[in-house]
Amino acid sequence: MEAAVFISSLVDCCALIFLSVYFIITLSDLECDYINARSCCSKLNKWVLPEMVAQALATVLMLVSTHWFVFLLNLPVASWDVYRYVKVPLGNMGVYDPTEIHNRGQLKSHMKEAMIKLGFHLLCFFIYLYSMILALIND
C-alpha cells in the first residue's frame, strides 16, 4: 500500500518535472524570440490546469496516506497554483496573457517560478524515490 502510494506519486512527480521543463523551454523560446507571445501563451495556458491537478493529486495522496511532512511540503505549491488560477482577471486569456507577458517583468517572474517549481519537483522526486524504496524494503 505504502509502496503503491509512492509509486503513483513518483509517476505524478515525473509528469510535473516534464511539465516544468516544458514551461521553461517555452518561456525561454519566447525570451529569445523564437516564438511569439501569442502562441507561447496559448501553449502554456493549456497546461496550467493539468499542472494544478497533478500537484493537487500529489498533495491529496500524501494527505490520505498521512505523510504529514511531505503533505505540508506540497501544500504551499498546490495552493499557489490554485491561487494564481483563480486570480486571473476576467479579461485575460489565462495565467499567461500574451498582451502582458512582456510587461512589468512578467516573463522573468514566470521563468523564475518555473525554475523554482522544477527544483521543488526534483526534491520531491528524490523524497518519493527514497520513501518508495524504503516502503518496498519494509514490505
Binding site: 525570451e31 524570440d33 511569439n36 501569442r38 482577471p89 479579461g91 498582451t99 510587461n103
Partner: protein, 1149 residues
C-alpha cells in the same frame, strides 16, 4: 504609377539580397537579427503566425503571389452553397420600406467565384513579369554592363549563390543599371576606386533633383523649427524660403545639390542625360518607367540614378491634407514680471471681491525671476542658449539652478508664467544640436544614472515618452540601396555613432565596430566623396528611409478602410449617421491612399449588413446576414471596392445611408458578430476598421452586461470594473493585429457601454478610441461639432499600415514595460497594425548593467511602416543623453513633465491590475519617496519645510493634478465609461496632450495686451501669463480661458468688462449671454481678433480640435470648469497646500 512604385523597391531588394549574408539578410523587417542561420528569426517564421502566407510572395508565380487574390476568389467554403439553398431565410435582400436598394436577382449576389476580380487590379503591381526584375550590373573595374542572370529570379538569393563576381569582403552595394553611380558604387574589386572616382565618374551634373520640396500644404512657416532636425539641410531650406512642410528627399546617387525641385511643379529635368559619361553603362535598365529610358529622357528626376525608388515623391506622403503640427513656437520674450500674492492663504476661497491684478501685487515668495531665465528660452533658440551660456560653464550654472532647493511650503508661485521648455540634456553643443526633438522623444531623466542602484536612490522612474509618427514639418527622406545598420544589434546609423576612420564606424548602442559601405562614402548633399560623417543619416536624428523589399514580408498593402456602423434605433436617434456620412463625403477625396485604395461598409443592428458596391451597379446593394452566431461574408467580391472605381456608388451609399434606417425599431446591437465579419473581410489585406458604436453590445459573441452601479460613481472607496469583462475583444484584437488590421473605436453613447471591455479591441490592435458621452446631434451641439471636427482629422490624417516599432537602447539598459496601444510581439518589438500621427507611447526602463564605461546613453526608435501610397518606409529617431554618476546630477536632469506622464501610465496599469486606491497611494508615495531621497542626500538643506530641487518643484502639483484627474479621482461623481476613456487617453496620448489633460492651462484673456506678444506672419499673438489653477486667481471682472487639451472653457465672470463681452462674444452684456455658447464669433474688432489669434495659436500645436464652451459664472455648467482648478480643495480631495502638508507628514514618518 503604382506599378512603378512597387517595382522599384522590389528591384532594390533584389540587389540587396545578393549581399544578404553580410548585411544580415534582414528579411524580417527591423526585427531581423543578424544571424541568418536562425531561420525562425530571419524568415517569415518570426512573424506572427499565419500573418501572411509568406512563402508565396517571393516566388515568381506572380498572379498568385498576393495572397488576397486567392483568398478572394475562393468562394467561402461551405457558406455560399448553404446560403443559396437552406439559408435563404437568413439571408435575404433587405426589402424593408425605405431602403433604396432594390432587390436584384439573388444569383447576382453569389456570383463570387468567377467574377472578374475588378478590385484586384491593384495586384497588378505585384504581378510583374520576371523580366521586370532584370537588372544590369556595372562593374567598375570593367566599366561594362554585366547582366546578371541570377537577378532574373525575383527571389531572395543569399550571397553565396548570388553573384560570384562579388567577393564578399564587406557589405557590398550593388547598383542596378546605374550609369552615373556605378563608378563608385561597387568597390568590391581590389582596385581602389576611390582614387579613380573623380576620373571615372564624370559626375553627371545637374541631372536630378537632390531635394524635392513637397509643398502644397499651406501651413504657416514656422521658422523656429529650422533649428530642429537637419541643421545643415535646414539652411538649404531657408535659402529656399520653404520652411513649411518640407520633405527633403535625398537621393543616394544624385549629384547635383543645386537643383531643387519644388514639387508643386512637375519635376523638370534640368538637363537631359546627354551628360552621362560615355564610360557608364548604356541604359540597359529594363525598368518600364519612362524615366529609365537609356538615352536622355527629358522628364527625368532621377536620371542616371540607381535609386530603386522613384524619388519624385509627389506630395507630402499620406497626410497631405492634414494640418501639420507646428508646436507653439514661443519666442524668447522678456521675462514676465513675477506675480505673487500674500502667501499663507491656506485655503484659497473663491474671491468674490475684485482681486488685484496679479502682477501688481508685490511678490512675497522667494520666487526668483532670474531663476527662470534659462527656462524661458524656447527650444528652437537652442544655439542662442548655448552661446549665451558659453559652453560648459553655462551648463553647470544651469545645473546649479535646477538643483536650487525650493521650499514648497513657502514659495507659492512655482508655476512659470510660460510653458517651460523641457530640460536640455547636458551635452556638448554639437550633440545637442542634432539630438532628437523633445516633442518626439523624451526621457524622464535627461541625465541617465550610471547604475540601477543610483536610480533606486533617486526614486524617480526611468522611461521614455515617444511620439514617433508625429506630423513633422521637416523630415529628411533618404533613398539608399543599403540602409546602414550595425551588424550585431541592427541599430540604424545615427548622429551619435563614432567614426573610427573613413571606413569604420562604431555602433553607439552595442559598441561593435562596423564597416562603412562604399555607397555611404558618397554624400549626396555635398556631392563629395569620403565624408561619411556628413551624410544626412549622420546629421539628423530623425530621418526616414525608403525601405527595400527586405523590409517586407509581403508586397506593401494598399490602403483599405472599412467602416462598421451601428444602425440600431439608438444610433439613428442620436443622429450620428448624418454627421458621419457627410464628413466622409466631404473627405472622400482626401482619404490618404493611392489608386489602390479600397473602401467598404458594414452596418449592424441585430443583424449584419454588407454593401455590394461593385463598379457598374446602378445602386449599392445591401446584403443582410442574420446568422449572427456564425457570421459569414456573403460575397467575397465587391464588399471592399476600389475607391476610385466605385466612387459614385460609395457616394450614393453615403447619401442614402442616413435615410435607410430612420424607421428602424431594432434596439439590439450585435457588435461582436459585426467585428468578426469585419475581421473576415479585412483578413486578406489588413487595413483600418473604424467602428461606430452607440450602446452596449447585446447580441451574439462579445455581448456585455451593464456593470456600473450609478450609486458608486462618487464612491471614495474602490472603483470596480476598470478591467474588461470578457476576453472576446482582446482575442479579436490580437487576431486583427496578426492580420495587420487596426480597429478604431468611436463610442457615442449616453448610457453605460462598458468601454473597459470594448476599448480592448483598439488597445491591442494599435487603434485609437474616441468617446462622445451623451452624443446627440441636436441636444448636444458641442459634442456634435467636436465629433465632426475629429472625424475630419481622423479621416484625413496620415496613416501607416502593417507597422512595427522597435526601441533599442544602449547596452546595459533594457525596457521592461510598454504603455500605449499595440501588441508587444517580442521583448522590444511592438506590433502596430496601424500607426497614426496622434498616438504616443511610453516605456519604462531599467538599468541592467552598469553604464560606468560610457558617457552617453542612446535610444533609438525605428518605426517601419507602409505608407498609404504603398511604400515601405522606416522612420528612425535617435536620442542621446549623458550618463552621470552623482545623485544630484540625476535630480538636476529630471524632466518633470515626462515623469508625470510616465507615472500616470504606471498608475493606470496599477489601477487596472490592482486597485484604484493602490494606484493613488503609489502616486503619493512616488512624491514622498523622491523628496525623501532628495532630503537624505541633500547637503545644504534647511531643517524645516518641504524642500525640492528646482527641477522637481512642480512634482507635487502635477501629482495632485493627476489624483484629481478624471481617470484617477475618487469622491467626485465620475461615470465609469468616462473614467475608462480618460485612462485610455492617458495611455495613448502624446506627452503635451497628457499634460494639458492633467494640469490645464489657465489664462486671463479679457485684458490681454500686446506686451510681450508674439509676432508671427503679421499677426500679433498676445501671450498672457499662465495662471495657477486656483479660484483665487479668478475675478468676477475677468474672463478666463482654460485649455484642457480636448476641451476649452471660457469662463466669464459676472462683472466682466462689457467691452469684452461685446467685442469678443458679440453680446451686449453679461445677462444676454446664452448659457450654451460653443464658439467665439468672428467679429471685426481688435479685441476679438486678438482673442481669436491667441486661441488659434493655442490650437496650432494640436491635431484634434477641442470642444469649446463659454461658461457663465452662474450656470450649473460651471462645475465642469471648477473641477479643473486642482489647487483648490474639494469635498473629497486635498488642496495643494494640504497636499504638501500631507507629503511632509508622510516624509517624517
Amino acid at each position: 504609377m503604382s506599378t512603378q512604385g512597387y517595382a522599384n523597391p522590389n528591384s532594390a531588394g533584389n540587389n540587396y539580397s545578393m549581399n544578404s549574408s553580410q548585411n544580415g539578410g534582414g528579411a524580417a523587417a527591423t526585427a531581423a537579427p543578424a544571424a541568418p542561420a536562425a531561420p525562425c528569426q530571419n524568415g517569415p517564421g518570426q512573424t506572427y503566425p499565419a500573418m501572411y502566407p509568406a512563402s508565396s510572395y517571393y516566388s515568381s508565380a506572380l498572379p498568385a503571389a498576393y495572397p488576397t487574390v486567392a483568398g478572394h476568389n475562393a468562394p467561402p467554403a461551405g457558406k455560399t452553397p448553404v446560403s443559396s439553398t437552406g439559408y435563404s431565410g437568413n439571408y435575404y435582400q433587405n426589402s424593408s420600406g425605405p431602403s433604396p436598394c432594390p432587390a436584384p436577382p439573388r444569383t447576382h449576389q453569389y456570383s463570387t467565384s468567377n467574377a472578374p476580380v475588378q478590385s484586384f487590379q491593384q495586384t497588378a503591381p505585384y504581378a510583374m513579369p520576371a523580366g521586370y526584375y532584370r537588372q544590369t550590373y556595372s562593374h567598375p573595374s570593367q566599366g561594362q554592363p554585366q547582366p546578371q542572370p541570377q537577378q532574373l529570379q525575383p527571389s531572395l538569393v543569399p550571397a553565396s549563390s548570388g553573384n560570384n563576381l562579388n567577393a564578399p569582403l564587406y557589405p557590398i552595394v550593388s547598383y542596378p543599371s546605374a550609369p552615373g553611380s556605378s563608378q563608385y558604387g561597387t568597390l568590391r574589386s581590389s582596385q581602389t576606386a576611390a582614387e579613380q572616382l573623380p576620373v571615372s565618374t564624370g559626375m553627371p551634373l545637374t541631372q536630378s533633383s537632390l531635394q524635392q520640396y513637397s509643398q502644397g500644404i499651406g501651413t504657416t512657416p514656422t521658422p523656429a523649427h529650422l533649428g530642429y532636425g537637419a541643421p545643415p539641410l535646414s539652411q538649404t531650406a531657408t535659402v529656399n524660403g520653404q520652411s513649411n512642410a518640407v520633405q527633403q528627399h535625398y537621393n543616394q546617387n544624385l549629384h547635383n545639390p543645386m537643383s531643387h525641385h519644388y514639387a508643386a511643379a512637375p519635376p523638370i529635368s534640368q538637363s537631359p542625360d546627354k551628360e552621362r559619361p560615355p564610360s557608364g553603362t548604356p541604359g540597359t535598365s529594363v525598368h518600364s518607367s519612362p524615366r529609365h529610358h537609356p538615352g536622355g529622357d527629358s522628364s527625368s528626376t532621377t536620371t542616371g540614378s540607381a535609386s530603386p525608388v522613384p524619388n519624385s515623391y509627389e506630395s507630402v506622403e499620406g497626410g497631405g491634407y492634414s494640418d501639420l503640427a507646428a508646436p507653439p513656437t514661443s519666442v524668447p520674450a522678456k521675462q514676465a514680471p513675477p506675480f505673487g500674492y500674500n502667501y499663507p492663504t491656506m485655503h484659497p476661497a473663491y474671491q468674490q471681491n475684485p482681486a488685484p491684478r496679479p502682477d501688481s501685487s508685490p511678490s512675497h515668495g522667494g520666487y526668483n525671476p532670474p531663476g527662470y531665465q534659462p527656462y524661458s528660452q524656447p527650444f528652437p533658440s537652442l544655439s542662442e542658449l548655448s552661446s549665451a551660456l558659453g559652453g560648459l560653464g553655462g551648463v553647470s550654472e544651469l545645473e546649479a539652478e535646477t538643483l536650487r532647493p525650493v521650499n514648497l511650503l513657502q514659495e507659492r508661485n512655482i508655476l512659470p508664467p510660460k510653458h517651460a521648455p523641457p530640460p536640455e540634456p547636458n551635452l556638448s553643443n554639437d550633440l545637442r544640436k542634432v539630438n532628437c526633438s523633445p516633442d518626439t522623444f523624451r526621457c524622464t531623466l535627461t541625465n541617465i544614472p550610471q547604475t540601477q542602484a543610483l536610480l533606486n536612490k533617486a526614486r524617480l522612474p526611468l522611461g521614455l515618452l515617444l511620439h514617433p509618427f508625429r506630423d513633422l514639418t521637416q523630415l529628411p527622406v533618404i533613398t539608399s540601396n543599403t540602409i546602414v545598420r550595425c551588424r550585431s544589434c541592427r541599430t540604424y546609423i545615427n548622429p551619435f555613432v563614432s567614426f573610427l576612420d573613413q571606413r569604420r564606424w562604431k555602433c553607439n548602442l552595442c559598441y561593435r565596430v562596423n564597416d562603412v559601405p562604399d555607397e555611404f562614402m558618397y554624400n549626396p548633399v555635398t556631392r563629395s566623396y569620403g565624408e561619411p560623417h556628413k551624410r544626412p543619416e549622420v546629421q539628423n536624428s530623425t530621418v526616414e528611409f525608403i525601405a527595400s523589399s527586405d523590409y517586407m514580408l509581403r508586397p506593401p498593402q494598399p490602403a483599405v478602410y472599412l467602416f462598421v456602423l451601428d444602425v440600431s434605433h439608438n444610433a439613428v436617434e442620436s443622429g450620428y449617421l448624418n454627421v458621419f456620412c457627410q464628413s466622409l463625403l466631404d473627405n472622400l477625396e482626401k482619404l490618404p491612399g493611392d489608386t489602390r485604395t479600397r473602401i467598404g461598409f458594414v452596418t449592424f443592428d441585430s443583424t449584419v449588413h454588407f454593401y455590394n458596391l461593385q463598379e457598374g451597379l446602378s445602386q449599392p446593394q445591401m446584403l443582410l446576414v442574420s446568422d449572427i452566431d456564425d457570421v459569414f461574408i456573403p460575397t467575397h467580391d465587391n464588399l471592399l471596392v476600389n475607391l476610385k472605381e466605385s466612387k459614385e456608388l460609395v457616394k450614393d451609399l453615403l447619401n442614402a445611408l442616413p435615410g435607410m434606417f430612420t424607421h428602424t425599431r431594432e434596439t439590439q446591437s450585435a457588435l461582436g458578430p459585426a467585428l468578426q465579419a469585419a475581421y473576415k473581410l479585412m483578413c486578406p489585406t489588413g487595413g483600418r476598421v473604424s467602428v461606430f458604436q452607440t450602446q452596449l453590445p447585446t447580441l451574439g459573441a462579445g455581448l456585455l452586461q451593464s456593470r456600473e452601479d450609478p450609486n458608486l460613481r462618487s464612491s471614495t472607496k474602490n472603483v470596480q470594473h476598470l478591467g474588461p469583462a470578457t476576453d472576446f475583444y482582446k482575442k479579436l484584437a490580437l487576431d486583427c493585429s496578426g492580420q495587420q488590421i487596426g480597429v478604431d473605436l468611436f463610442l457615442l453613447s449616453s448610457q453605460y457601454s462598458d468601454l473597459a471591455s470594448l476599448a480592448c479591441v483598439s488597445k491591442y490592435s494599435a487603434g485609437s478610441v474616441f468617446y462622445y458621452p451623451s452624443f446627440h446631434h441636436v441636444h448636444n451641439t458641442a459634442q456634435s461639432q467636436k465629433f465632426q471636427k475629429d472625424l475630419q482629422r481622423y479621416l484625413t490624417r496620415k496613416i501607416g499600415f502593417e507597422a512595427v516599432m522597435r526601441i533599442r537602447c544602449t547596452k546595459g539598459l533594457s525596457i521592461h514595460t510598454f504603455h500605449g496601444n499595440f501588441f508587444v510581439r517580442s521583448t522590444d518589438l511592438l506590433s502596430l497594425a496601424n500607426v497614426n500621427p496622434d498616438s504616443g507611447f511610453a516605456v519604462q526602463m531599467s538599468i541592467e548593467e552598469s553604464l560606468a564605461d560610457t558617457s552617453l546613453a542612446c535610444f533609438q526608435a525605428a518605426l517601419l511602416y507602409t505608407s498609404s501610397k504603398g511604400k515601405r518606409r522606416i522612420r528612425v529617431h535617435t536620442l542621446c543623453l549623458p550618463v552621470v554618476s552623482q545623485l544630484s546630477e540625476v535630480f538636476a536632469g529630471a524632466d518633470i513633465q515626462a515623469i508625470t506622464c510616465l507615472l500616470a501610465n504606471m498608475a493606470i496599469d496599477r489601477s487596472i491590475s490592482s486597485s484604484l486606491s493602490d494606484a493613488r497611494d503609489a502616486l503619493v508615495n512616488a512624491v514622498v519617496d523622491c523628496l525623501t531621497a532628495y532630503r537624505a542626500n541633500g547637503s545644504n538643506i534647511q531643517p524645516s519645510g518641504l524642500i525640492t530641487p528646482a527641477a522637481l518643484r512642480l512634482f507635487p502639483l502635477y501629482v495632485l493634478a493627476l489624483l484629481k484627474q478624471k481617470a484617477l479621482r475618487t469622491g467626485t461623481s465620475t461615470r465609469l465609461d468616462e473614467r475608462v476613456f480618460s485612462m485610455c487617453e492617458l495611455k495613448s496620448q502624446p506627452l503635451l496632450q497628457i499634460m494639458r489633460m492633467a494640469h490645464p492651462d489657465l489664462y486671463r484673456i479679457d485684458n490681454m495686451t500686446e506686451q510681450a506678444a508674439l509676432h508671427l506672419n503679421d499677426s500679433v499673438i498676445p501671450q498672457p501669463p499662465l495662471l495657477q489653477l486656483t479660484a483665487e486667481k479668478l475675478t468676477r471682472e475677468g474672463a478666463f480661458l482654460m485649455d484642457c487639451g480636448s476641451v476649452m472653457f471660457l469662463w466669464v465672470g459676472k462683472c466682466c468688462n462689457e467691452t469684452f463681452i461685446r467685442d469678443v462674444l458679440g453680446y451686449p452684456n453679461y445677462a444676454s449671454l446664452p448659457s450654451n455658447m460653443t464658439e467665439i464669433p468672428e467679429l471685426q474688432t481688435m479685441y476679438s481678433e486678438r482673442t481669436r489669434a491667441f486661441i488659434s495659436w493655442l490650437l496650432e500645436s494640436r491635431t484634434f480640435h477641442p470642444a469649446f464652451h463659454v461658461i457663465k459664472d452662474d450656470t450649473s455648467a460651471k462645475t465642469s470648469f471648477f473641477q479643473h482648478l486642482v489647487e483648490d480643495r474639494t469635498e473629497s480631495a486635498f488642496s495643494y497646500y494640504e497636499f504638501l502638508l500631507h507629503i511632509q507628514q508622510q516624509m517624517s514618518k
